[in-house]
């Protein structure tokens, strides 16, 4: 009877508090294993026979040594098959536009406004060629010039290069400028050490090493700050530079940063501020005021351009006037009427990558900054910090979580939590909790090696997420923690409703097993002889 009177209310269950996420699992083959010989997506017409007769084959114009003798072994597929393949793969991901992506702490997964992509696709940007004469691309040069002025204001630096293709390329630029500076003063041989910290991004140490420097890492003191006494012990006449983040990956701001900089300066070294993620301090504090000589931003972290699964990204490297002659070439100059490219002098470090930089991302970052304005940038930072401390208040209530270091003090834009207590109680690891979170439609990653904070989890909500998003995320973590204590097998065998993905770590560390290309996959995984 009741059913007949209100049929819809009787049959529709309300949505659960936590979503019962069910991800696709396609068991999709690799694209190299799909298709068949001769299958094509596009069949371009042959050139007019008269044209061929007049100029011959374009391949004939290439030197013989550059011409292939056999066609490349590329996959052969129709358009629909290609589209379907990548749509299926996309359904097996938890992308930044799909989930509450606060679990990729240190990555700053803020929303990338889609409207900015329309500017990038505009033919006035998309149809440009990087080798065009500057007189024909005044618009994009103006955009690069204006973006440099904005980033100079945001950092306090005197010049900014937009050429680096990503964050690590920007760090490489910093290290190159540091080397050029000491070389110009005749101290390149003497200054062979670069100092960094355990909670700074590992690309700092990696770039310094690649450039031939000896790397000295400072470990945190008991409060989680870089150990100032350790810096005192490390610094000396061999010091080329200090590469440091602030706040570090713990989300703790180092209030003694100016003293760090001063100590290194007194020894004749330079100081580079890794501001890849400046999300908690935009409009609040600047590299210049802390005394730094160089700094860099990742436009995909702080300035909203997409992370794009490893690129192409864009970095911006800012320096003081003293170091400006060492910046990569070309720089964009403006005489009040026209914009031009300047190749700089002999002290330039040369090219970090060709041309201006990754122009589409310069466009997006410029659009984002202009849409917010100066007050908006500061508000973005304040909202990111507020979001982070709101989430901190929720997460620290969960049994088994701790917040190492600087007890009781608020954090800036992220927090590195520890599940050590839960791990000791249940035998489960942080990584396994992250897997289980995938069953509720989100995740977190634990790529924070080496684990100075045991059983780590770094959450960074940015300004993009709503209070409801953060409530949901914290509720998922609380549920997973409850399961860890009450039904640990559920967590141990997770994910249950996600694609597959329990990661075996050994192959990732073993060059004999890892396969990052189809050729390597055939040899190492399928066991085929080359």
């Amino acid at each position: 009877m009741t059913d007949r009177r209100t049929p819809s209310r009787a049959r529709i269950a309300p949505k659960p508090a936590l979503r019962r996420f069910q991800q696709a699992r396609w068991d999709e083959k690799l694209i190299f294993e799909l298709g068949s010989p001769g299958e094509r997506g596009v069949l371009p017409p042959l050139p007019d026979p008269a044209v061929t007769a007049a100029v011959g084959s374009p391949a004939d114009r290439l030197p013989a040594a550059l011409r292939r003798t056999a066609a490349p072994a590329l996959p052969e597929l129709g358009q629909q098959q290609v589209l379907r393949h990548y749509l299926r793969l996309s359904q097996e991901n938890l992308g930044a536009d799909l989930n509450v992506d606060v679990g990729q702490g240190t990555c700053t997964m803020k929303y990338s406004p889609k409207v900015n992509d329309t500017f990038v696709r505009d033919r006035r940007i998309a149809a440009l060629h990087p080798a065009q004469d500057p007189s024909t691309v005044q618009g994009v040069l103006e955009l690069a010039y204006r973006l440099e002025q904005l980033l100079k204001e945001i950092s306090g630096m005197d010049r900014v290069s937009l050429q680096p293709g990503a964050g690590s390329a920007a760090i490489w630029t910093n290290v190159s400028v540091i080397r050029a500076h000491h070389a110009a003063r005749g101290e390149a041989g003497q200054r062979d050490e670069i100092i960094t910290t355990a909670f700074s991004h590992p690309s700092n140490a990696a770039c310094a090493k690649t450039a031939g420097y000896r790397v000295i890492t400072l470990h945190p003191d008991a409060d989680g700050y870089p150990d100032f006494e350790a810096l005192r012990a490390a610094v000396g006449p061999r010091t080329a530079a200090l590469l440091i983040t602030n706040p570090e990956d713990t989300g703790i701001y180092n209030p003694r940063i100016a003293e760090f900089v001063e100590l290194v300066h007194r020894a004749g070294g330079l100081c580079a501020y890794d501001q890849a993620n400046a999300n908690g301090i935009l409009g609040i504090t600047r590299a210049r005021e802390a005394g730094f000589d160089l700094c860099h931003f990742n436009l995909h972290k702080t300035f909203s351009t997409p992370h794009a699964c490893g690129g192409p990204a864009a970095g911006a490297c800012g320096v003081t006037a003293e170091l400006a002659p060492h910046l990569p070439r070309p720089t964009v100059e403006f005489d009040g009427e026209r914009y031009r490219l300047d190749d700089g002098g002999p002290e330039s470090v040369g090219k970090i990558r060709p041309y201006l930089g990754v122009v589409p991302n310069l466009v997006r970052a410029y659009a984002w900054i202009m849409s917010l304005g100066a007050d908006g940038l500061r508000e973005a930072a304040e909202t990111a910090v507020l979001n982070n401390n709101y989430l901190l208040a929720l997460v620290r209530r969960i049994h088994g979580v701790s917040v190492p270091y600087a007890e009781g003090r608020p954090r800036v834009e992220q927090v590195r939590y520890s599940w050590q207590r839960l791990s000791e109680d249940t035998g489960l690891h942080s990584e396994e909790l992250g897997y289980r979170a995938a069953d509720f439609g989100t995740h977190y990653w634990t790529s924070h090696h080496p684990y100075v904070v045991p059983e780590p989890m770094t959450l960074e909500p940015t300004e993009s997420y709503s209070r409801a998003d953060l409530d949901e995320y914290a509720a998922i973590l609380a549920e997973v923690a409850r399961e860890a204590y009450e039904e640990p097998e559920t967590v141990r065998t997770a994910p249950h409703r996600s694609t597959v993905h329990r990661i075996r770590h050994e192959p990732l560390d073993d060059p004999a097993v890892w396969a990052v290309s189809w050729r390597a996959y055939r040899r190492k995984v399928l066991g085929e002889q080359p």
Binding site: A198, I216, T217, H219, D221, G224, D227, A233, A234, V452
Partner: protein, 385 residues
């Protein structure tokens, strides 16, 4: 006569007088009568009574009036001074027979039965196991170890004798001390034979803790990543230079570094002497060396060693062959500390620790040390005593 308003803290003391015998002479422990005889034959002297005495003297200086309950002779009374109350006499005491594990267990039971509210024991992992056996799975009193053994992988030990006094004094005052369950572990002989340094868990004791004054349990090691060790080995070889003579401390890290230098036959738990060849490889000149042999080397060697994983002890735990005399001769500039970044990270910010047995040397070596973590890579890390 009115009784005092506050009774003095009643603290038990049990010393294992044979603990630590094997260390300086290169034996891997002092458990069992055979090993102890062998150690004495090699000229070893027991360090435990003197270390216990250091703790008690310091404790009295810090806490004033304490009521010490102990066993007779070298099992406590010799270290605790004339004001201590002897509540137990070991069976062999009048004849001077060496004490046994059974003596330790009996003394622990007697001291606790006589009313001790905190038990200090002096020894190593073997002694800790005896204390655990005597007190049973639900110990009625908190326990703190004064470190004097060769192996001290358990988390029940103070970092050195003076620290034991600090913790006990704070406990007596009732300030700042937190009680926590701590693991008693000992070397896993089966794992050792399989080439891994591991520890086996025997049980838990309740331990009073002041932060940084009680050592952490050693983490087992299935071996660091080979690539990291290759880098450390290359850096080590560059520092030492061709023809250089170096002493290599025990452990998985140093063993792996030696293997990377083409010398896979070093002793996993002993101290070896190696020489670097012109081609950058090394050969073992003296395997499992004793302290006196190390002092008799023809030239002053470099000393390369790695802290105990998870626990941070650099000197004074499992490598007592590296005597204060040798360390003074080599000087800090010839002391090369090796650890992977992951091993340092596992210390969770706790400093590296020293307990060479020579407080002045410990002080001189304290501060910050450059730890070799890879090729052209070091970490500046705090070291303290």
């Amino acid at each position: 006569m009115t009784p005092p308003l506050i009774e003095p803290a009643r603290i038990g003391l049990v010393v294992n007088p044979v603990a630590g015998l094997g260390g300086r002479v290169g034996l891997k422990g002092s458990d069992g009568a055979d090993v102890q005889r062998q150690a004495r034959a090699l000229g070893a002297r027991a360090a435990a009574p003197a270390r216990a005495e250091l703790t008690i003297r310091q404790l009295r200086a810090l806490a004033g009036d304490v009521d010490i309950l102990t066993a007779a002779g070298p099992m406590g009374a010799d270290s605790a001074g004339p004001t201590a109350r002897v509540v137990h006499r070991p069976a062999g005491e009048p004849t001077g027979e060496p004490t046994t594990a059974a003596d330790t267990r009996a003394a622990v039971r007697a001291v606790v039965a006589a009313g001790a509210r905190l038990l200090l024991f002096c020894g190593g992992d073997g002694t800790a196991r005896d204390v655990l056996a005597a007190l049973g799975p639900e110990p009625a009193v908190p326990v703190l170890g004064i470190p004097a053994g060769v192996k001290m992988h358990s988390a029940v030990f103070a970092v050195h004798p003076r620290a034991a006094a600090e913790v006990a004094a704070a406990w007596a005052r009732g300030t700042g001390v937190r009680l926590t369950a701590a693991e008693v572990v000992d070397r896993d002989e089966a794992a050792l034979r399989a080439g891994r340094v591991g520890a086996r868990l025997y049980g838990r004791l309740t331990v009073p803790v002041l932060p940084a004054r009680v050592q952490q349990r050693k983490t087992g090691s299935s071996g660091p990543a080979p690539a990291a060790l290759d880098g450390i080995a290359a850096e080590l070889a560059e520092r030492i230079g061709p023809g250089g003579l170096f002493v290599l401390g025990p452990g998985t890290t140093t063993h792996g570094v030696a293997a990377a230098l083409g010398a896979p036959d070093t002793a996993l738990t002993g101290v070896d002497v190696l020489r670097l060849r012109r081609d950058g490889t090394a050969r073992v000149e003296l395997r499992d060396a004793r302290a006196d042999q190390l002092l008799a080397l023809p030239t002053t060697p470099w000393i390369a060693l790695s802290p105990i994983g998870g626990q941070g002890f650099l000197l004074g735990r499992g490598n007592q062959q590296l005597s204060p005399e040798l360390l003074r001769a080599a000087g800090p500039e010839r002391l090369l500390v090796l650890a992977t970044e992951a091993k340092l990270a596992a210390l969770a910010g706790r400093p590296l620790l020293l307990d060479t047995g020579d407080p002045a040397l410990d002080d001189a070596l304290s501060g910050h040390v450059r730890v070799i973590t890879g090729r052209r890579a070091t970490a500046v890390y705090r070291v303290t005593c």
